[in-house]
Each structure stands twice: as structure tokens, then as C-alpha cells.
Amino acid sequence: MTSAPPAGPGVVKTAPGPAAPLPPPAGRRDVRRALTRALPVSPAVVLLLLFLAGPIAYCAYIAFTDLQLTGQAESSFIGFDNFKAAFKDDAFLNAVWLTLVFTVLSSLIGQNTLGLTLAVLMQRASKPVRTVTGGIVIAAWVLPEVVAGFLLYAFFRREGTLNAVLDWLHLPSQNWLFTLPILAVSFANVWRGTAFSMLVYSAALNEIPKEITEAAEVDGAGGWRRMWHITLPMIRRSIGTNLMLNTLQTLSVFGLIWVMTRGGPGNRSQTLPLFMYEQAFQKSMIGYGTAVALLLLVVGSLFSLVYMRLLRTEV
């Protein structure tokens, strides 16, 4: 993964002495030991290669061809043409932008912050309140994506619940799915995914020793300062893990947006997975669609790298 750092001072402890007779047998023993150790995991490795790496490698190959689902007798290798086409395609760039907006709004800001807030509040809440809130939030998470999509479609549509409430409050109603589609689907994703962050953070908060918080309290630190100087640094690793998992999950959200808006109106809520679907299965361009999928993989790994750095930092 990372490039090996050059051996720093202090690493080389034994000076390269004169020809030692011992190393070769030790090396052979090492190899044998490594083999014996590897044996039990090899079935898993074989299965992974067969069912995970195989299809991925095949996908990577397809991304460099002009393969179509229909309308073409045979496909040919076209090098980087699909990728070049993608970066020249306004619709692709639009999808990249919307994917970033969607991820930042719903995952980084929405699910993450709201999950943390709920977890903190629930630490202090009474047991019944905790049970009820936890139940509701988790119910949203347990619902299948498509069901959640339909629920939120019903909530946001013009004759939907949200507008009924706004009417009742004498506030102007909006057709949310039409005027602010990306915001509506982001909200839907927050609604659906917050439970996960809440659970992660609840677990992390429970790990913080009581004495530390109490000591800070005795020292006169207010709620905000305790949060900022004690709680957040202590759960930093959980924040990293949670951000990474949330982001990867959000990047691949398809069903929710498909049910609510189908990426429309126009392309105003067409994130990368929807764009990919349109290219591959509606326009039959499997090669191009797969190339876009690979690019999505790149976006995901970029996010992961950033978070991994965050995770590695010592508290």
C-alpha cells in the first residue's frame, strides 16, 4: 500500500557481518512456516480471486472496449476512448458534481453530524426517550432502500406530507422534487442513513471513561469545551471509520434516487450511479458505463485515502 520508508537511523542494528552460516536454513524454515500458515487461508483467497477479483478484472477490461448490450455485432478494444469521452461529456461532469454535492450534503454533513448529535443527546436522555428515538431512527435504517424511496417520494411530492404541513402553517409550498431535487434526495439519504452513524458514535461515546469527563466538569469546562477538547479527540478514530463507511455507502446510492426522481428533472439529480445506469442499460453502452463505474471507484478510493490518513493519525 504505502511506499516503504527508507530505513531511518536506529533501524539497522546489526552491522552486516561477515558471511554467516546460519541465515539460509532459517530462510528455508521461514518459507515453510509461511506456507503452512498460508494454507488455511488459501481457500478464502481462491474464492476471493474467483468471485471478486475475476469480475472486477473483467469489468476493467470491458471499460476499454466499445461493448454494447445490443446493436452491434462485435466489440473491439478502443483504449482510453471511453474515459476521454467521459471527460468531454457535460452530462458526466454534471453527474460528478452532483455526486460530490450529494455526498458532502448527505453523508459528511447530514448523516455524520446528525448521528453524532443524536448519540450525544441520547447519552443524557432518559431510558424511555432513548428507546423510542433509537427505535425510530433504526426503523428508517432497516427499511429497504426502495421502500424508503417511495416513502420519501410521498413525503416530498406536490400533494405530499411536507407540503400539507407547510400549507397548514400558512407557509408557501414547493414542489421539492422539481425545484430542489438534489436537496430532497440528500435529505432522504440523511433520513435513511443517520442510524448507522448514531450507532457507531453511541458505541464510541460509551468507551470514553466517565472519570475524564467528570474531571473536566470539576475543572469547570462547559458542554462545548468538553465536546471540543475531550469527546471529539477521543472518538477521532470512530469519526474516521464512520466517515469512510458512510461516504462509500452514499457514493453508491441508486435505488433511493431512482425511485424519487429518476435523476430528473433534466439531469438535476443524476448522480454517477444513475448516469452509469443510463449509459449502460438504457443507451446499451456497456463499455462506456463500465468506464464510468471505474471512475466512480476512483472517486471512492480518493475519499477512502483521505479518511485512512485521518485514521492513522495517533490521538
Binding site: T36, L39, P40, S42, P43, V46, L47, L50, Q68, L69, T70, G71, Q72, A73, R157, R158, N175, L177, F178, T179, T261, R262, G264, P265, G266, F281, Q282, K283, S284
Partner: protein, 455 residues
């Protein structure tokens, strides 16, 4: 540890090989004919299932020792095509008979998925009963025929008689040109508040409905001759850019939404618009004029969930006029489905026998009536029982004479999306007619690999 690990590894490897070999069971039994068809996603609609079960019984009785296996694919249109195309790619999964939309049949022919049927058709007497335009729908550029159509559809104007009365419009309304349609819609807007004056499908959410029921019904009405295609030039095999007819058609759409003669833009761009028009707007008397297909009554039949038997008294029908009323004065588009035999089918002969069983006159007629389909067979079209079976069926069957089939070549699905995008631009007001038409020309060049011609 080691002695157990080795057998374990071997066992796992064997399992893995066995698993990956699972798919290679082709299951081709010379006495079984496998038939794939599109099953409705609505569980209460069993028209196709019932019909095929009946034919299966007839077929098995007439051919002792042969078996029919029905392989339904339950999916919405676009996903059905995808699934089917994946099945057709491999001899292991290819069925013996498939139900193909004329929309995509040419694409699948180009891919080499389908088998030419000419040797079978030459020996089949009933083939002469099929009308020529329908035969052409399943014909490839190589002149061979790849499918047997089991009916078609046509399109026209549906209007609400009660709303027309309030607006002071005649109950036997028949517009002579586009201006008449817009005038009627304006009259409704002025005199009958609270209803949608007219509906025309538009934009990407409506999908092919926007292209075919909406745009092409206009575009083909801008042509000057009956056989002229304003979308594709068959002589040069090129797609047409920069046509005045295209701009005029966009302008019609723009006018409808700019003057608020259509549904609210957000409703028009709702992916469920077509279902709402059939299930809600029309039966509830909320829509004046609807440009739509012949199959609407399918949804209002008994047992369909939205029963509305009195529709034939409440709604009137008018054909879609050409732009200025120029000859041939009416316009319609047609699509429909065909039965085709995959090139990788294991029992093609048996599959064609099954087609012949489906297409005896009696069985074909049964299907048209059950399905609110429009006959492509002259013997059925002339049968009084068929004509009486449903109100409106004569009207739509007569339109077959002035109908057009889409240039459903491999690029068509992409061209169709480009049309929807252009429509959506003028519907929302995001782009002017000029801009939208220019964008379409650009898109068309990409979609068709620059196979375009300016007209």
C-alpha cells in the same frame, strides 16, 4: 494441522469449480420449447399469462411428447429489454422463442441475437394475411424478416365530452390542423377552470412515451408526403438534422407549456405521469384532451383495478391531424411486439410451430380482444366480432392505414433520448426552440456516429 488443511483446500477448490460450472447446464431438451415473455409488473394483470397457458395446452395436445416451458420475465419495459439481451448473448440461457418490442428488434438483429424467419414464413399460408407495414416492422436492413408481429397500436386524441360541452366545443370534435387543437385547449382553459386543458407527454421521465406519443405524432405530421420520414432518410440511411419540422414540433410543445395549456410542468415531468393520466386525470374528468395510444381501455377493463366501463360514453376520439391539414390529413405512429426466434435457440423449428399455433385466426383474434390490441391481420380486422369487441377498436384499426413505424435502427434508443432532452428543454423553458434544436443536432451526431444529413 497440515494433514487436515490439504483436504480442506482440495474440497474448497472442488466446490468452487462445481459452483462456477453450475451455469453450464444448458438444459436443452429437444422436446421442450422454452418461451420468454414480459410478465406485467401489476400482479392483477394476467392477460398474457392466461393467453399463453391456453396456447401451451393446445400445442401440447396437438404435438404429443412435446413440452412447452414458459419463462416469464417480470419487469418494466426498459429492464425487460436488458434482461432479455443478457439472456440472448449465450446459448446456455437463450430461450427458443422471445417476445420482442419492435422498438429494439433491429438492435438485436444487428447484434446477431435473432434468426431470420424467411424460410419458415415462405411455407406458412397465414403470413399473407399480415399487412405490409407490420411485416416491415420486423424487417432488418438486410431485407430479411426476424419476427412475427402479434398486433400493433395506433395513436390519436382522446377528449372528455363533458369538459368540451362546458367549453362550448362540439361532442364530435375533429381538429383539422395543429392550430385547431391549441384553440380547443385555449377555450377549455378560458371556460373550464380547474382542469388540465391538454396533455402531451414530454421529457426524459416519460421516456419513449414522450418521443412516440408526443413528439413523433407532431413531427410525422409536418411531412408533406405520406411516406416521408422527417426523422430518418432511408435513401441515404442517415438521420436528419436541422429540419424545420423538428423546430415546429418543438414550438408546439413550447406553446402548450408556455401558455399553461398542459399539466403543471412538475406533473408533466413526473416519471409516473402516464399512469396518472390513465388512472386519475381521465377517469376523474380532470383532463380535456389527451394525445395517447390505443391501449388505454386496457386499464379500464373489468378486473383491472381501475374499472371504468362507461369511458366510451364519456370520452370522444379524434385522429391527430397533420400540421396544416395537408395530405394525408391524419397521422399516427405504430409500434407493437413480435415473436422472434433467438439465433442461439436450441429448438427453432418447434418454436416456429408454437408461433403458428398462436397465430391461427381464432387464437390471434382471441389475443387482440383480450389485450385491446390492434390487428395487423386483415382477416381479423374484418371480423365483425373483433370490431364489436370493444368501443374505439374500429377507430384505431382504421388508423393503421395512415400510420408510421419508427426508424428503429440500433441508434434509435439514443436518438429517442436526445428528442426527450430537447422536449424537456422547451417544456421547462430552460432553452428556446432554436437552442433545443441545435443541441439535438449535436447529440444526434454523437448518437449516430455522424450518420446525419441536413434537410
Amino acid at each position: 494441522m497440515r494433514p487436515t488443511a490439504v483436504p480442506l483446500l482440495l474440497a474448497t477448490l472442488l466446490t468452487a469449480t462445481a459452483l462456477s460450472a453450475c451455469g453450464s447446464d444448458s438444459g436443452s431438451d429437444p422436446d421442450t420449447v422454452k418461451i420468454s415473455f414480459k410478465q406485467s409488473t401489476d400482479n392483477s394483470i394476467k392477460v398474457m399469462d392466461t393467453y399463453l397457458a391456453d396456447i401451451k395446452e393446445q400445442f401440447e395436445k396437438a404435438n404429443p411428447g412435446k413440452r412447452v416451458e414458459l419463462v416469464p420475465i417480470k419487469a418494466p419495459d426498459s429492464e425487460y429489454y436488458t434482461k432479455l439481451q443478457q439472456m440472448l448473448r449465450s446459448p446456455k440461457t437463450a430461450p427458443d422463442l422471445v417476445y420482442e418490442d419492435t422498438f429494439l428488434i433491429n438492435s438485436d438483429i444487428t447484434s446477431g441475437y435473432l434468426k431470420p424467419l424467411d424460410p419458415y414464413l415462405a411455407k406458412w399460408d397465414d403470413w399473407s394475411q399480415f399487412i405490409d407495414t407490420a411485416k416491415e416492422a420486423a424487417q432488418a436492413e438486410d431485407g430479411k424478416t426476424y419476427g412475427v408481429p402479434d398486433g400493433t397500436d395506433t395513436r390519436g386524441l382522446w377528449f372528455d365530452k363533458a369538459i368540451f360541452k362546458k367549453a362550448g366545443l362540439p361532442a364530435d370534435w375533429q381538429p383539422a390542423n395543429w392550430a385547431d387543437i391549441l384553440d380547443a385547449a385555449r377555450a377549455i382553459k378560458a371556460k373550464v377552470p380547474g382542469v388540465i386543458p391538454m396533455n402531451i407527454y414530454t421529457g426524459k421521465p416519460a421516456g419513449e412515451a414522450a418521443t412516440m406519443q408526443g413528439f413523433e405524432m407532431l413531427l410525422y405530421g409536418t411531412a408533406s408526403g405520406a411516406n416521408e420520414s422527417p426523422l430518418y432518410d432511408p435513401a441515404s440511411k442517415k438521420w436528419i438534422t436541422g429540419s424545420q419540422g423538428f423546430k415546429d414540433s418543438l414550438e408546439f410543445v413550447e406553446t402548450v407549456f408556455k401558455e399553461k395549456l398542459g399539466p403543471d410542468v412538475s406533473d408533466a415531468l413526473d416519471p409516473n405521469i402516464a399512469t396518472r393520466v390513465r388512472g386519475e386525470f381521465l377517469p376523474e374528468g380532470k383532463l380535456g384532451i389527451n394525445l395517447d395510444g390505443s391501449w388505454l381501455p386496457q386499464d379500464w377493463l373489468e378486473g383491472s383495478g381501475h374499472e371504468w366501463p362507461e369511458w366510451s360514453q364519456k370520452l370522444g376520439l379524434a385522429y391527430m391531424p397533420t400540421q396544416t391539414g395537408q395530405a394525408p390529413s391524419k397521422v399516427s405512429m405504430s409500434g407493437g411486439w413480435t415473436w422472434a426466434i433467438p439465433s442461439k435457440a436450441s429448438n427453432p423449428d418447434l418454436a416456429f410451430d408454437f408461433i403458428r399455433t398462436m397465430q391461427t385466426k381464432e387464437n390471434a383474434q382471441k389475443w387482440y380482444i383480450a389485450n385491446s390490441g390492434i390487428s395487423v391481420r386483415t382477416d381479423v380486422a374484418e371480423d365483425p366480432e373483433y370490431v364489436k369487441a370493444q368501443p374505439g377498436i374500429k377507430f384505431f384499426t382504421d388508423l393503421v392505414a395512415s400510420t408510421h413505424y419508427r426508424p428503429a435502427y440500433p441508434a434509435y434508443p439514443k436518438v429517442s433520448t436526445a428528442i426527450q432532452e430537447a422536449m424537456e428543454g422547451v417544456t421547462t423553458g430552460d432553452s428556446s426552440v432554436e437552442e433545443a434544436a441545435k443541441n439535438y443536432d449535436e447529440e444526434l451526431k454523437t448518437a449516430t456516429d455522424n450518420q446525419v444529413i441536413e434537410k
